[in-house]
């Protein structure tokens, strides 16, 4: 730890204090010109497409620093020379990342500036003791659409054996907005300020793993100590400033890429993401640059609870005890030791959930909590719960899709969506049962005419599997426009709910979904839907869905759709679908062969 500190301090100040024989009062404008064009200077300023992405004016010393890297470099150098203060707000302590780089590039500058002590900064660097950086992906949570795309942040490790003592570096929008409309509008158009924050990692785990029951994936980055130090200094500079937060592009995931680029000084990462940055795609970009050396899976609380409860899955005495409010210990007296342990551990886990859901007050929680733990402590250790990791998020298909289809009767179709994962895609690397399509548009070419077939602005289907312990409700919301009777385009809104049973790679659902349609007049309908999906490997997915939809005015549509998708790799798949439709006694059979291209 102390060695690491020394290294950082050395790296930071060693260069500064080193006396060089060269001395120049004026750094030639030629050098400034050359330096300001260096890619690393652009990275330090988060400069892309003609301007810096930082929107905080205090980040820049030059008036036009946001759009002029050369002016900003010159102004920073002038500031370094003129600033004679020796406190935490002095230029070097407040802008350690760029100061360090400039002094590295122009060593003679050290002659002309006062080097402050930066006590607070050094104390923080010491506390952090960065020796390793880990990219963390909190994966999507099956029944919480808010987390559908997952979330990424970095973890700064001092010791890889004690990640609970590490710190998480998180980029987030600063808001406490409650209104969904305002939140979405502001978020899409940069109405919030994005900032980096640092918190103990265990706090983040409480949020994501315990509270939201999300799986956590930890990817150790392959960085040298020098690169890690560079990243840390950059975090300590950039933390003071905000950038407008754009949910789709300049978001949590995207901004971590700047930190990684600044560290490596070479990886070209941010340029891959111009209009959207989805965590799973940014993870893959980092992976493709060969920057990941180790992957670790941390199962969600829900998975742990299922593993705990395995010995008592069918034991009603044990389950009743764990689900009760009074935890009557005598009711489990006759169970085997293994079953008792499972009962008590499950009871504790469910009690904690009850407490975090605010369904029990703190006093009652505490007395029950200690009572159960005390009983558990008398029973010794047990063998480790075995939880098989699901397929890694970095293995899944990329999140944008274009498909080209040939349909019987010589119809050609093309379909494109911005993101993310639909029922026909292989679930490998994704949460099975969680489907979101965003701006999904289909056009058809028939008899030399191009027509807009369908547009789904948003289509969420959450088929959350029920198990022995958790009984989530499956639900669906879709909004868009599609063709109905008379082949006319109707705008529609569908929302409904149901039940899903099975296991991760083989499950069936049943839902009821009312819809409203509108073209010239309003119509409404009620549909019953069932489906069965089987996803045995990263290559194969088969399924069948069937629905019956009753409209007002006594019209109805029946549909049956078996399909098979064969994924060749992460970028492409072949898909075959048979569609049986009965529109008010008008029967139709179509076979469609498609090629899916993911990017």
């Amino acid at each position: 730890m102390l060695v690491a500190l020394k290294k950082v301090v050395q790296l930071f100040f060693g260069l500064l204090l080193f006396q060089t024989s060269l001395f120049s009062n004026n750094i030639s404008s030629f050098n400034i010109d050359k330096l300001s064009q260096k890619k690393q200077w652009y990275r330090l300023l988060h400069f892309k497409d003609g301007e810096s992405e930082i929107d905080d004016k205090r980040f820049f010393f030059a008036k036009n620093g946001k759009i002029d890297p050369k002016a900003e470099l010159q102004a920073t150098i002038n500031q370094l020379i003129s600033d004679k203060s020796d406190d935490e707000n002095s230029t070097i302590c407040h802008y350690p990342s760029r100061s360090h780089w400039i002094l590295e590039q122009i060593p003679t500058l050290k002659e002309q500036i006062k080097i402050p002590q930066c006590k607070a900064l050094n104390k923080e660097l010491k506390e952090l003791g960065a020796k390793q950086v880990t990219l963390i992906l909190a994966s999507a949570h099956i029944n919480s659409p808010a987390s559908a795309f997952g979330h990424t942040f970095l973890r700064i490790d001092n010791n890889s054996n004690t990640p609970l003592l590490s710190y998480a570096v998180n980029y987030a929008a600063q808001t406490s907005e409650d209104n969904g409309f305002i939140y979405a509008y502001q978020g899409l158009f940069g109405g919030y300020k994005g900032r980096y924050s640092i918190d103990p990692y265990y706090k983040k785990l409480k949020e994501y793993s315990d509270l939201e029951q999300r799986d956590i994936w930890e990817y150790t980055l392959d960085l040298t100590q020098e690169q890690i130090d560079r990243m840390v200094l950059h975090i300590f500079e950039i933390r003071h400033f905000y950038a407008d937060y754009f949910f789709l592009a300049e978001n949590c995931s995207y901004n971590l890429l700047w930190l990684i680029e600044v560290a490596t000084q070479k990886s070209n990462l941010v340029n891959h993401f111009n209009f959207k940055a989805i965590p799973i795609d940014t993870l893959r970009a980092v992976f493709n640059k060969k920057l990941i050396k180790k992957e670790l899976y941390r199962p969600s609380k829900r998975k742990e609870i299922l593993a705990i409860s395995q010995p008592i899955e069918n034991n009603s005495i044990a389950l009743n005890f764990a689900r009760s409010d009074e935890y009557n210990l005598s009711s489990i007296e006759d169970l085997s030791k293994r079953e008792k342990i499972a009962s008590l551990e499950l009871a504790t886990a469910l009690l904690k959930i009850k407490h975090s859901d605010n369904k029990i007050d703190k006093k009652a929680y505490l007395s029950q909590f200690l009572k159960i733990l005390r009983e558990r402590s008398k029973l010794g250790k047990k063998e480790k719960n075995i939880i098989t990791p699901p397929s890694s998020p970095k293995e899944g298909h990329l999140s944008s899709k274009v498909s080209f289809s040939y349909m019987s009767e010589n119809i050609l179709k093309a379909r494109a969506k911005i993101s993310y994962h639909d029922i026909y895609d292989n679930d490998n690397g994704y949460i099975s049962g969680g489907y979101i399509s965003f701006f999904d548009t289909e056009i058809a070419l028939q008899d030399n005419k191009v027509i807009l077939e369908e547009i789904d602005f948003l289509d969420i289907k959450s088929y959350a599997i029920q198990d022995a312990i958790f009984k989530p409700i499956s639900w669906q919301v879709s909004v868009g426009a599609k063709r109905l009777f008379n082949n006319e385009l109707n705008s529609y809104l569908t929302a409904g709910a149901g039940v899903t049973l099975g296991r991760e790679n083989f499950y069936g659902f049943a839902t009821i979904t009312p819809s409203i349609y509108y073209r010239n007049i309003e119509e409404h309908s009620m549909a019953g839907n069932i489906g069965l999906f089987y996803n045995p490997s990263k290559h194969l997915k088969v399924g069948v869905t069937a629905s019956k939809e009753w409209f007002n005015k006594n019209r109805e549509i029946d549909k049956v759709e078996p399909f098979i998708t064969y994924s060749i790799n992460q970028e492409s798949a072949i898909h075959l679908k048979h569609e049986y439709k009965n529109l008010n006694e008008k029967r139709k059979n179509d076979i469609t062969l498609s090629w899916f291209w993911y990017f």
Partner: protein, 146 residues
């Protein structure tokens, strides 16, 4: 989108003495309480890939707001860790294993973590004497076992 109400605020408080006890962030039962978002809010958050948070820079320098243990004052990191992980640690000790427990063993420089875990499990009652137990008490009680 999540809005979390964190009751535990130990690290932002400056005074020490008055904060030991059941109703502070230094005791048991200071879990994060979930805020129930509306479905509408969830859907918007889903489509906008948003996360939000408060600006924090929680690198603490060893001055936790909780009272310091009497018998083991020199290890600020351990004090802070215990204060921040009271419930998780109690759970691990009762199970005789777990990540919080092994982390504490590392922080306390324990030579044999396996034995340490067993001893703590057997003496659960002596460590968690009541539901008012504070993090300082827990550390003192653990150290007394040694």
């Amino acid at each position: 989108m999540k809005k979390l109400l964190s009751i535990a605020a130990a690290t932002t408080l400056l005074t020490t003495a008055s904060f030991a006890g059941a109703n502070t962030g230094c005791g048991l039962g200071n879990q994060v309480i979930k805020n129930q978002d509306s479905v509408l809010m969830q859907i918007f958050a889903a489509t906008t890939n948003g996360t939000s948070g408060n600006q924090t820079f929680g690198i603490t320098s060893g001055t936790s707001g909780c009272a310091k243990p009497a018998k083991f004052v020199s290890n600020d990191k351990a004090n802070e860790f215990v204060a921040g992980n009271m419930d998780a640690l109690a759970l691990d000790i009762s199970n005789g294993k777990g990540e919080s427990l092994s982390t504490l063993a590392t922080l306390l420089n324990v030579s044999n973590p396996e034995t340490f875990a067993s001893v703590l499990q057997t003496n659960f009652d002596k460590i968690y004497t009541s539901s008012n137990v504070s993090s300082a008490d827990v550390i003192d009680n653990i150290v007394s076992l040694g």
